[in-house]
């Protein structure tokens, strides 16, 4: 399965700052998901946004979706040390929710 693209590959910010990660994809989608992976752990589902939605919030997370640009962004506000992790986006652009297309991930480091 082809990879989606995320940028930046790595992001290091001070605690309390906002972190923004981007994800781009190639074809049409029904939904896009964001996951977090702490070091040495499995991925944890954060949020899903449907193609007819433009923005979605969950706590300190804000996800936007621009289907005209085929891109999404994940904003984490007021970052905490515990937000240090890798963040992945995944889409169903393969045509099936059984075969998600995954981004390469953004490694986020929050400095205390």
């Amino acid at each position: 399965s082809q990879q989606g693209e995320e940028d930046p590959q790595a992001l290091s910010i001070q605690e309390g700052e906002n972190a923004t990660m981007n994800c781009s994809y190639k074809t049409s989608i029904n939904n896009l998901q964001w996951y977090r992976q702490n070091s040495g752990r499995g991925l944890v589902h954060l949020i899903l946004i449907r193609s007819n939605e433009r923005e979605k919030h969950s706590g300190r997370l804000r996800v936007t979706l621009d289907t005209s640009k085929k891109s999404s962004s994940l904003l984490i506000t007021a970052s905490r040390a515990a937000d240090t992790a890798s963040y992945f986006c995944a889409t169903d652009e393969g045509g099936s929710n059984y075969q998600l297309i995954w981004g390469a991930g953004t490694k986020l480091i929050i400095k205390p």
Binding site: S1, Q3, N31, Q33, Y35, Q37, G40, R41, G42, L43, V44, H45, L48, S86, F88, D92, N97, Y98, Q99, L100, W102, A104, G105, K107
Partner: protein, 110 residues
């Protein structure tokens, strides 16, 4: 109360050996997956089972054989292990859209 559990967590073995990784989910999900994550963190789907039926079988060597005895279990058997098989293998399950992942099995072939 673990949702998706896989065992073992770590597996170190010699080239040429045969090994199995087990996965169980107690979420009542009807679809289960095996993913391989390489050293660069790329996630690659290997197999997907829906209600015990194989629905996705990506291009992986036929040394890898999944087995789903029931909807709650999807095991991965690997024959004749090679150095390149070293990676972290994740089991996941879903019902609908969001996936739930296990904590991974770090396989090291020496």
């Amino acid at each position: 109360d673990t949702a998706v559990s896989q065992t073992p967590k770590y597996l170190v073995t010699q080239m040429g050996n045969d090994k199995s990784i087990k996965c169980e989910q107690n979420l009542g999900h009807d679809t289960m997956y095996w993913y391989k994550q390489d050293s660069k963190k790329f996630l690659k789907i290997m197999f997907s089972y829906n209600n015990k039926e194989l629905i996705i079988n990506e291009t992986v060597p036929n040394r890898f054989s999944p087995k789903s005895p029931d909807k709650a279990h999807l095991n991965l058997h690997i024959n004749s292990l090679e150095l390149g098989d070293s990676a972290v293998y994740f089991c996941a399950s879903s019902r609908g859209r969001g996936y739930t992942f296990g904590s991974g099995t770090r396989l090291t072939v020496v």
